[in-house]
């Protein structure tokens, strides 16, 4: 895999992971182009498309688009399931994940991704093992000085599997 992008229906980039060295300028250009291309596609269209010399695999979960760029010889369907497994991991960790979880806890989203995918390849496919690693890391954290009630978020939070919920607060 060359990179993974998460962006909202409004075209806001929520997470970016690059597995090939590219300049910031290039990254921005790619992001802009891809977000545009993917958002322009209709719901029932196929999840794969050719883009430059890469294959793009994307899937929408509620208000978020998950979009991976893979190389010619890579397997599209298994990439689709990489996306799904990542969503499952987020969901299990956050409990009914929503776009806001990823915004507020972006670092967790990155850590989970690093446990699951490394260098663009699947590192660990077992849900249990990935979450165990993250939980162990969490145990190492010092006791939080601030506790933030999840209430206000869960009020606006949306289940990624349910209908999209507008996130403009």
């Amino acid at each position: 895999m060359q990179f993974m992008l998460l962006f909202s229906r409004q075209g806001k980039l929520r997470l970016q992971k690059w597995y090939v060295p590219l300049s910031d300028k290039e990254k921005k250009k790619i992001t802009r182009e891809l977000v545009q291309t993917v958002l322009a596609r209709k719901p029932k269209m196929c999840s794969f498309l050719e883009w430059r010399d890469l294959k793009i695999v994307y899937k929408r979960y509620a208000s978020l688009y998950f979009c991976c760029a893979i190389e010619d010889q890579d397997n599209e369907l298994i990439t689709l399931e990489i996306i799904h497994r990542y969503v499952e991991l987020l969901d299990k960790y956050f409990g009914s994940v929503c776009e806001l979880d990823i915004i507020f806890n972006f670092e967790k989203a990155y850590f989970i991704l690093d446990e699951f995918l490394l260098g663009g390849e699947v590192q660990e496919t077992s849900k249990k093992n990935v979450l165990k690693a993250i939980e162990q890391a969490d145990l190492l954290q010092e006791v939080s000085k601030f506790s933030f009630s999840g209430q206000s978020i869960s009020m606006v939070g949306c289940d990624l599997k349910k209908a999209p919920v507008s996130l403009s607060l």
Binding site: D72, G95, F104, L118, E124, Q136, Q141
Partner: protein, 957 residues
């Protein structure tokens, strides 16, 4: 839910998100950035917590899409914190926002080094993730030696092993030269047997990448991968516990193992091969079973494995039964309700269409594919359908496919029109049984999608019409009719103008298309056309002056008009002046000479094909081409391999209207000679120079470039036969690559230098030449020919040449030649080609001088009928005694003079040296000049050797 960012950060997030406008957001962020900057610069040393807080904020701001140019130092400081969260945020910042500040990289590397040495698996994990995320060359320099040790150390935790494997993979991708191969490689291969499936998954990715470049070193992975795969596919769905995904056992690992196997030809060991075939059959069988779950994840995972298995089947291209089953399975998917599966089935079938075994099976789905073209709602799926139609096209269905593509073109998406036009043009030319159909098709193309018809396409139709006199009259009539349309595309005016200028006379007998009508028709379009087209029409007019003297004055009037003679465009003005002069002063004879019909164009590769290749990247078109060519000989030989040497864009600028300097395109008439012909010969000569060594033998060579990088296809055509009697020369050449050879042999040893020349101006990446000894080079599992190659640099710069040395040891006598497989990436596509390496048995000859008496004595000793092999054959080359002598000496044996009582005969003697034995050989060649035949007799102590030498030498005369 656990606590992530500090509270401030979250509050800020909320503020940012709730910002009313973009300006408000930017204002808010700038304020925050200023605040953070002042904190970092402040006199008071920040504690770890605050540092973490601010670094985290910076990250957040960066991820919102704003530029961050400070904070790196603070992030690096966090790396050395003992607090896990601080370290973690530091690493995250570095991973996301690293810049190539070398000062910083050193500090980062230091922190990583400490964490790797800490033996704390969590810290080691963080450090390895960071290396894998950044993967810079500096990091490779620092850690490429260390990570393999961590990977294979006995006491490393499983999770660290997984990270280390993928970390190493990332470093190998960026800097393969810095990752030393060594003892660790064999231990990595054995990770395929590891109990922990996560470790196996990570290791398989690493091994696959390494094996692509070092196939020999990782050969043992094949049998391990097969047995692992077999255990997975036969396991019950619950056996693998958490590695079962929606009832599919370890789909990711299965896909990876199947990918790994695509780095190799089918396994040599029959047991392994059998087991693999069983696995593939099981996977195909499972596809027919009812689904264990209705979830799309279940079917996706199952089909991901299935598609990968099909890729492997296509890659091996050796089991007709599996290939046909694969084709049938894909056929089912073509009509599946899931768009994704239809897309993939179309894509996969494209590669299947190029296999000999399944081409016919693919063709049976033509109606479904055509239907897809008409009904699919998604352009990317329709695009796949177009590709597949192109791939499955052959003589039997060309008319139907071209008609359907033309049909589709009327409504096709603009983004893919040009490509369809090129494809139609190529197919129409290639499979034209009847050239009137070809001309109709191209004119239709111009009518339907004139804007997308590039000049290559219309140049080509003109070249073909000029070269084939049976179609000229029809072409003239058809363009004349097409031009009647009130609004016709400018490309049609160009084609029409050119063809009528050449062949208008063929239809001038019909009063409906008399010379004057033809001229008026063309001239009615003149004012609507662009300058280049007008220039072309002016040339048509002067040609009319020659063809139809009766309308000379009409034409002269037009040329003489102010709008021509005083045209602001210098090219048009010059043409008008010169043509007018020419028509006035030249006699009929001179006119006829100057303006005679264009001579036939030299046959060469269709420039359209070159264009499509350029458009789609080199690898994607050739495969189809080559395959098709084998199947049906090309009608006009437009794609002969020898002509591949032509310049990349041989689109003969027909009238010099293109980029050619103006002075060139219209020499003054006084220089007489042949005005138009001259212009043409200019471009023709640009095509003429063939590369050195473009010997006839190249015609035999078949190269296949495949879309899939590892679809190795061997070409067993004796392309190397020119090397039987010589050791140096060009082995292979195409538009991208030239392979030269220099070799020397002594007794049973030899050394060959292979020179790879990059003919393009672009770098070749992942350049991997591999020498493969086929099964035939094994005798009772012992290799007859021992070859050692040194790896070459994986990047070959444009215009550069790299050299590879092959050390050769002949262990025992052998038949087949080894195969040189070359893979590389050129402009985004993988190239894959295989040629036979000319290492033949006769290379290990030592000549033996002997007297006539000795010769005949030994000749009699070898009188056992099995020891003699004789071949009578027709001479393929002129029968010249001197050349024959040179060839026999080049073959390696001594040429014995005055031995044979008949001085016209040639006799030779020598000893073949192998490691295990020496084999004496005698040969006799009797030419029969009258019959243009030879009789070649070989006597050696070993039947197989006699046979082989006889075959090799017979080819030479």
């Amino acid at each position: 839910m656990t606590e992530g960012c500090p509270k401030h950060c979250i509050l800020m997030c909320v503020l940012l998100i709730s910002g009313k406008s973009k300006e408000a957001e930017i204002k808010r962020i700038n304020k925050e950035l200023a605040n953070i900057r002042s904190k970092f610069k402040g006199d008071k040393a920040l504690d770890g917590y605050s540092k973490k807080k601010y670094v985290c904020k910076l990250l957040f701001i960066f991820l919102l899409g704003h530029d961050i140019d400070f904070g790196h130092m603070e992030a690096v400081n966090l790396l050395s914190s003992n607090r896990y969260t601080e370290k973690q945020i530091g690493y995250l910042f570095i991973s996301v926002l690293v810049n190539s500040n070398s000062e910083l990289i050193r500090l980062i590397n230091n922190a990583i080094k400490n964490d790797l040495a800490s033996r704390n698996p969590t810290f080691m994990g963080l450090a390895l993730h960071c290396i894998a995320n950044v993967g810079s060359r500096e990091m490779a320099e620092a850690f490429a030696g260390e990570i393999p040790k961590i990977l294979v150390a006995g006491d490393t935790m499983d999770s660290v092993k997984q990270s280390a494997a993928l970390c190493l993979l990332r470093l190998y991708r960026t800097s393969p030269d810095l990752v030393p191969m060594g003892d660790w490689t064999s231990r990595v291969v054995h990770l395929l047997n590891d109990q922990h499936l996560g470790v196996v998954t990570a290791a398989t990715s690493l091994i696959t990448t390494l094996a692509q470049k070092n196939p020999e070193e990782f050969k043992t992975s094949v049998s391990l991968a097969v047995s692992r795969l077999s255990r997975i596919v036969t396991s019950a769905s619950t056996d693998l516990q958490d590695y079962t995904y929606y009832f599919v056992p370890a789909p990711w690992l299965s896909v990876k193992l199947l990918r790994l196997l695509q780095c190799y030809p089918p396994p040599e060991d029959p047991a392994v091969r059998g087991r693999l075939t069983e696995c593939l059959e099981t996977i195909l069988n499972k596809a027919q079973e009812p689904p264990k779950s209705k979830k799309v994840q279940h079917s996706n995972a199952k089909n991901a494995v299935l598609f990968e298995a099909i890729s492997l089947i296509i890659h091996h291209d050796s089991e007709p039964n599996l290939l046909v089953r694969a084709c049938n399975q894909l056929g089912q998917f073509l009509q599946h309700r899931e768009t994704n599966l239809r897309y993939l089935a179309l894509e996969s079938m494209c590669t299947l269409a190029s296999s000999e075994f399944s081409h016919e099976a693919v063709k049976t789905h033509i109606e479904t594919v055509i239907n897809a073209l008409k009904t699919e709602r998604d352009v990317s799926v329709r695009q796949r359908a177009v590709d597949l139609l192109y791939a499955m096209c052959d003589r039997s269905n060309a008319q139907q496919i071209v008609a359907e593509m033309l049909n589709y073109l009327e409504t096709a998406d603009y983004s893919i029109r040009e490509e369809i036009v090129l494809k139609v043009a190529i197919l129409a030319e290639k499979y034209a049984v009847d050239y009137t159909w070809y001309v109709d098709t191209i004119l239709n193309l111009i009518r339907i999608a004139g804007d997308y018809v590039s000049e290559e396409v219309w140049y080509r139709v003109i070249q073909i019409v000029i070269n084939r006199d049976d179609v000229q009259g029809y072409a003239a009539k058809t363009v004349f009719e097409a031009l009647q349309a009130p609004a016709c595309h400018e490309n049609l005016v160009k084609v029409g103008g050119y063809i009528l200028g050449e062949f208008g006379n063929l239809i001038a007998g019909d009063p409906r298309s008399s010379p004057l009508i033809q001229f008026n028709l063309l001239h009615s379009k003149f004012h609507l056309c662009s300058v280049p087209t007008r220039a072309l029409l002016l040339s048509t007019y002067i040609k009319f002056v020659n063809l139809f003297p009766e309308i000379k004055t009409t034409i002269q009037d037009v040329l003489r008009s102010d709008s021509q003679l005083k045209n602001a465009d210098v090219e048009l003005q010059q043409r008008a002046v010169e043509y007018l002069r020419l028509s006035t002063i030249a006699s009929t004879d001179i006119l006829a000479t100057v303006l005679e019909e264009m001579p036939p164009f030299p046959e060469r590769e269709s420039s359209i094909l070159a264009k499509l290749k350029k458009k789609k990247g080199p690898g994607t078109v050739t495969d189809l081409e080559e395959i098709k060519k084998e199947r049906s000989s090309d009608m006009n030989g437009s794609a002969e391999p020898a002509s591949v040497n032509s310049t990349p864009s041989p689109s003969a600028d027909l009238l010099g209207l293109g980029a050619a300097p103006l002075t060139n395109s219209a020499p003054p008439p006084s220089s007489s000679g042949s005005l138009l012909v001259d212009v043409f010969s200019d471009s023709a000569s640009a095509v003429a120079p063939l590369a050195p060594g473009s010997d006839d033998n190249f015609n035999n060579l078949s190269v296949k470039t495949e879309k899939k990088p590892h679809a190795i296809t061997f070409s067993f055509v004796p392309a190397y036969s020119m090397f039987v009697c010589k050791n140096n020369g060009v082995l292979f050449e195409n538009q991208l690559l030239q392979i030269g050879l220099k070799s020397e042999f002594r007794q049973n040893l030899g050394r060959m230098f292979i020179f790879y020349g990059n003919k393009t101006s672009t770098q070749f990446l992942n350049f991997t030449p591999t020498v493969i000894c086929s099964d035939d080079l094994f005798l009772n599992h012992f290799l007859c020919l021992n070859l050692q190659t040194k790896p070459v640099d994986p990047t070959v710069d444009g215009g550069a040449q790299v050299q590879q040395v092959v050390n050769i040891e002949c262990v025992s006598d052998f038949m087949e030649a080894p195969i040189l497989n070359i893979q590389f990436r050129y402009g985004g596509t993988f190239q894959n080609l295989s040629v036979k390496l000319p290492i033949t048995l006769n290379k290990f000859f030592q000549p033996t001088e002997m007297s006539s008496q000795d010769f005949f004595q030994r000749w009699k000793q070898l009188s056992n009928p099995k020891q003699e092999v004789q071949n009578i054959f027709k001479a393929k080359h002129p029968m010249d005694a001197e050349i024959t002598k040179a060839k026999i000496i080049g073959f390696g044996s001594a040429l014995l003079e005055e031995v044979d009582p008949n001085p016209a005969n040639f006799v030779g003697a020598g000893i073949i040296h192998t490691k295990t034995t020496q084999i004496g050989c005698l040969l006799r060649l009797e030419p029969n000049l009258q019959a243009q035949m030879y009789r070649l007799t070989l006597r050696t102590s070993k039947e197989a050797v006699s046979q082989r030498l006889c075959e090799l030498l017979s080819e030479q005369f």
